[in-house]
Structure formats: C-alpha cells, structure tokens
C-alpha cells in the first residue's frame, strides 16, 4: 500500500510538472528559431534575431516594461489605501446595507471592466483621461480594487479587536497600533491582494488600449500584434518577457513587503 502511494505521488507530480512546464518549451524554441518548419520538433537552425529585435533600443520594449510595472504598482498602492479602511469595517463589523457594499465591491470581479470603460469612454475623453497614464491607472482600478479589498477582508476578519485594545491599554497611539499590530497581521492579506492587483493590472489589454489610445504602451499592447498573426519568433520572445515580468513583479513585491515588515514582526511580537 505504501509503495503504491509513493508511486502515485510521483506519477501525479510528474504529470502536473509536464502539464505546467511543457507548454513553455515550444515558446522557448520558437523565440530562438530560424525558420522552424513542420515536422521538426527542435528547430534546425537557431537565431537571436527575435531577441535582438526585442532588445534593440527602438522597439520600445524597456519603456513598455517600465510603463506596465509603473502602472501596476501605482494602481496597487492606490488600491491598498482605498481598501484598508473599507476592509477594516467590512471584515469586523456588521452594519446595515453591508451586503450592498459587498455586492458593489465583488461585482467588478465578474463583470469585466471593459463594459464600464466602453460605457464611459466618451466621458473619459471629455475629462481628458484618455491618452494618459493617469487615465489608464484610473481605469485599472476597476478590475483590481475588488481583489485587494477581498484579500484584506479575510485578514481583518481574523484580526478581531482584542489585540488593538490591548495595545491601547498599554498606551500605544493609533498610529503605533496600526504599524505594529495591524500591519504585521495584515501582511499575508496585503501580499495576496497586491499580487492579484499587480497581475490583473499587468494583464489588461482592452482597457489599456481603449483608454491609453496608443500613447500608453504597456507590454500586452506591444505583444498583441505579434502573437495575433505577426512574427511568431518575436511574439514568443515578447511572451517570455511578459511572463517573466509578471513573475518578477510578484517576487519583488513579496520580497519588499516581507523584508520590510519581517524585521518589525520579529522584534515586536
């Protein structure tokens, strides 16, 4: 029985590994290929052409990566500031009309943002929000904010009030209580919410495209013409960069938050 268990475990692990890792192999080959004809499993010739193009100064890759990350992080920061007070009461208090607020907050998770953006596109133009990074940031708040609130609610609901009350009795100010009691406890929720917020913001194509009007070039916008029928090698290279950027952004955020707060937690709790 034990050996069967072992075997099953190994089998399932390997299958999952294959399912997750294998799709990346042709992507990798394709980005380095020089004329990859059917039925070659591995290209007969390799070339750095696609990567040279992608990293050439004029292709705008770095600017796009920077713009994408900038927007994602600013959006996430705004979300955090907006969501903290809301999650505070939604996670810990009962009040009238709460279900309505919750409904409002969760709705954008399933109703896609482009519906709202298309609806108010003309107003966006009139308010001067199109063709600007500001406008794109504003538009990205719609699909990302709900995830942040959601994640923080879960953290707040496990926090309760007693820790803060204890801190108060020991003479901690409101700010101190927030920094040393609330924040460390919320950290996993913040990391989760920020991860989702960053990811969702990085993946936006249509909303960025509509509001940014070509003046705000994020990576998905540069990538799209190449993967929808353009040059497959360059499309693959961009796709790899896109995936890498998402992973990097999450790693960076995780690292920074944990690094910064990890220290305080160990000292004070």
């Amino acid at each position: 029985m034990r050996r069967i268990g072992h075997f099953m475990h190994a089998a399932v692990t390997i299958i999952l590994l294959i399912a997750i890792a294998i799709p990346f192999i042709p992507l990798f080959f394709s980005s380095f290929s020089h004329g990859w004809r059917w039925p070659e499993v591995i290209p007969h010739a390799f070339s750095l052409r696609a990567w040279v193009y992608v990293f050439s100064g004029n292709s705008g890759t770095w600017e796009a990566v920077w713009t994408s990350l900038e927007i994602a992080f600013i959006v996430t920061l705004i979300n955090l500031l907006l969501a903290l007070p809301a999650a505070n009461v939604l996670g810990r208090l009962r009040f009238r009309g709460k279900w309505l607020i919750e409904g409002l907050i969760y709705a954008p998770i399933i109703i896609p943002a482009f519906i709202s953006v298309m609806g108010m596109y003309i107003s966006f133009i009139r308010l001067g929000l199109t063709d600007s990074v500001t406008g794109v940031i504003v538009a990205h708040i719609i699909p990302t904010l709900p995830y942040m609130v959601r994640a923080l609610i879960v953290s707040y609901s496990t926090l309760g009030f007693q820790w803060e009350e204890q801190g108060q009795m020991l003479g901690a100010s409101g700010f101190q209580r927030f920094c040393y009691i609330v924040m460390p406890h919320l950290m996993p929720g913040i990391v989760a919410g920020a991860s989702l917020s960053i990811l969702v913001s990085l993946s936006q194509y249509l909303v960025t495209f509509l509001v940014g009007g070509g003046q705000v070039m994020t990576l998905p916008l540069i990538l799209f013409p190449f993967i929808s029928g353009g040059d497959p090698a360059i499309g693959s290279a961009y796709t790899l960069i896109f995936a890498g950027m998402a992973a990097f952004a999450l790693f960076l955020m995780d690292f920074l938050l944990k690094r910064y707060y990890g220290k305080k937690v160990t000292v004070h709790l």
Partner: protein
C-alpha cells in the same frame, strides 16, 4: 432608521455626481469649434519646416511586422530627427480599424487635441474616415516631394479602392498580389484562372486559398472575379450603380465551386488566414501559396521558413494592386511636423530605402520614372532576392482594386455560394 438613510444619501450623491460630470463635460465641448491650422496649408514650405522643428510626430501603424517597424525606427526616425529636428514616435496597433474607431470617438466627444499625427491607411479604413470627416485637409498636393515625384494623375494613386483621395492622404507604399510556388515541384505555374483549374485537377489537394473575409483570401476571389468575368473595367462604378451584378458574379461562384473538390482537404475546409496557408506551404502540404506583398516570399526564404527553391508569379492578365497612404487626422496637434515627416517619407531616398529588403522591401509609391538617373541606378541595384519578381514585370501585370463597397458583397457571397454550398 438613520443609518440606511445616510447610506442611500451617499449612494444618491455619487450617482448625481456622475451625471453632473457627464453634463458638464458635454457643455464644455460645445464651445470652441474647429481650431484647425489652415495657416499651415497656406504657409510656404520654409515656414512649415521652421514650425515643425522640435515637434514630435506620433505615427500610428500596424505593429506586427518586424521589417516595417525596423524601417520606421531605424531608418526614418533618426534621419528625420537629424535633418529636420522632428522626433518620430511609432505607435504600434493591432488593427488599423482601432485607429479609426479612436478618431470616431474623439470626433464625437469634440476632442480638439488628439494624439495621432500620421496614420497609415487605405481602402475601407479610408472610406470610413472620409465618411466620418476624420481627416484633416487636402495637404498632399502641397508637399514638395509629391509635386516632384508622385504621378498624381495615375488612377492607382488618385483613387483609393475606387474612392477619390482628393489630397487628404499622400501615397506612401504599394502592394501587389502575387502567387508563390516551389520551383522544384511546379515547373509551369498556372498564370490564369483557366490554367489554375487545369493544374488543380492534375494535382488534387495541392492548392487552396484562405477563407474570406481573410484579407488575402478576399483578394484572391476578387482577382478571380476579374479573371472569370472579363476584366476589372466593369467594376469601376460604385456598387449601388451596378445592375444585374448577382448574375455576372455567378461565373465566379461556379468557378470556385468547380475547383473545390480538388482543393486541399477536398475543399471541406479552408485555411482561415494567409499565415496558415503559408504554414501549409512551408510544410509541403500544398504547393502554392499567395500574398499581397511581392517581397513576402523572399523574406520568408531569408528567414528560413520557405524552401530556397521558392519563386513568385503573377497572372497573365494582371494581379490586384493597391496603394496605401499616409494621412493626417483632423485633431492632430502637430500638423506642420506631420507634413514634414510625410514629405520626408516620400523623398526618393526614403522610398528607395523602403524598397530595399534589407530595410523593408515594400514597393515605392513615387514614380520610378521621375527619379534622377542616380536614383534609378540605386533602385535597380537593390537585391530583392530570387523569389521577388523584377519591378518591371510587376508593374506590367497590375490591375486596380475594386471599389471598397464590393469587398463586403463578395465576402458575403462567398460565404453563401461557396462555403455553405
């Protein structure tokens, strides 16, 4: 009962705020009618040049082609900056329709300072822009290089898919439909619809075409329409002035249905795009492919995707050709710089460089006969690769595009009479 009231008050306040914002925005833009720059058109060229200096031009064009992007970024932009002090910023788009759509919205919202200075359009998109008054003014005849090097009377330049350009766009590039074949497998490429029919019967399964409304597939059936119904001249008038069209076009449907059983997969399915057809060709599943770019096959050979024995051919009675244009939208904030940029892109140097496959490999829009002898020499010295036909052969086998209205009619007809047949 206090709490809910308070809550609804807030909710109501916000909904009100939205409406107020909407209304305020609306009023704001009723004022200030077209603040255009008519003076730019009246100014002499020196003044335009000095106005343009230091401005940035946003050029919007399809972004999925490495060679086009490279040409704009690495050839045009640095020279424009150095010679005229104009910064060129390329904005890649996935579909030219998106540009038109953006302009339609901006027109609607009354946005006077847009972000697009130059855009690359033709055909349907031009028609749509014209209908919605999205284009600025008749600037093209004012450009020195248009006056000098463009054959403005040629019907292929004057009309964009049958629609008079009236100078609101300047010709930039040309494309021509060509067929591609593997010379190792096909000794005598079929150069007419009739020959093609014989050929597919002899080689069942080795030919197919992309399903319209794919751009290339649609062009193929247009070309076959000319072939099977006696030339392009009868279609020069607009669609709504045509009588008995259904009857005339029947010959085309009959032809396409006659070859269908001999196509790839017996015509049960068609590749849905030109790139799919190219893949079938590259893998040897079919022996012919086609495209609306005479240099495409040579580029594919260069990149190793097509076999070295690949060659192209045109039909005896000519293949479709079109001109694509650069235009300036109504709300471009840098019209002088846009004119300078377009003028530069129509200079012999820029056009010759554009036709070099090293840079891009697209056909010139200016008239080769108007070039200086030095320019002509340069043009002839370009190595287009073995797969690309000489310019002369292409130029001598060229028929104009059909007016834009027909395109949709034919695509729907194909769906009805061939696909569902």
């Amino acid at each position: 009962m206090k709490r809910p009231k308070f809550f609804y008050l807030i909710a109501g306040f916000f909904i009100l705020a939205i409406f107020l914002a909407g209304c305020a925005g609306q009023k704001g833009n009723e004022q200030g009618k077209s603040a255009g720059h008519p003076n730019v058109l009246k100014a002499n060229w020196q003044d335009v040049l000095s106005q343009a200096k230091g401005q940035t031009v946003n050029i919007y064009l399809y972004g999925g082609s490495e060679s086009t992007n490279n040409y704009i970024d690495n050839w045009v932009a640095p020279r424009l900056k150095k010679q005229f002090g104009v910064q060129l910023n390329r904005v890649p788009v996935n579909d030219t329709k998106d540009i038109i759509n953006k302009l339609v919205s901006e027109k609607q919202a009354g946005k006077k300072d847009g972000s697009i200075d130059v855009m690359w359009i033709n055909g349907e998109n031009f028609l749509m822009s014209k209908k919605n008054n999205l284009l600025w003014d008749s600037f093209s005849p004012k450009l020195p290089n248009v006056k000098k090097y463009v054959n403005q009377n040629s019907p292929a330049i004057k009309n964009d898919f049958g629609e008079p350009t009236q100078g609101v766009e300047a010709p930039w590039s040309q494309a021509q439909f060509v067929f591609t074949y593997d010379s190792n497998k096909v000794k005598h490429p079929p150069k007419s619809a009739e020959a093609l029919k014989q050929w597919v019967k002899q080689h069942p399964g080795k030919f197919t075409y992309p399903a319209p409304p794919d751009f290339t597939g649609s062009a193929f059936i247009r070309n076959m329409l000319y072939e099977t119904t006696g030339g392009y001249k009868q279609y020069l008038k607009p669609l709504d002035k045509q009588t008995g069209l259904d009857n005339i076009v029947k010959a085309l449907w009959n032809y396409l249905n006659a070859i269908e059983p001999y196509l790839w997969r017996k015509g049960e399915t068609y590749p849905e795009s030109a790139s799919k057809l190219d893949q079938l060709y590259a893998s040897g599943a079919v022996w012919l492919t086609m495209g609306y770019d005479p240099a495409h096959a040579a580029n594919e050979v260069k990149d190793g995707r097509f076999p070295k024995s690949t060659r192209t051919f045109v039909l005896k009675d000519g293949t479709l050709s079109n001109t694509s244009y650069l235009s300036i939208p109504f709300n471009s904030p840098h019209k002088a710089a846009a004119m300078v940029a377009i003028n530069f892109m129509l200079s012999p140097k820029a056009q010759i460089a554009k036709s070099d496959p090293e840079n891009w490999g697209a056909l010139m829009a200016i008239d080769p006969n108007k070039l200086s002898s030095k320019g002509q020499k340069q043009l002839n010295a370009i190595d287009r690769g073995k797969a690309t036909l000489p310019s002369k052969v292409l130029a001598n086998h060229r028929v104009p595009e059909i007016p834009a209205g027909y395109v949709d009619y034919l695509e729907k007809g194909w769906m009805e009479h061939v696909a569902k047949h």
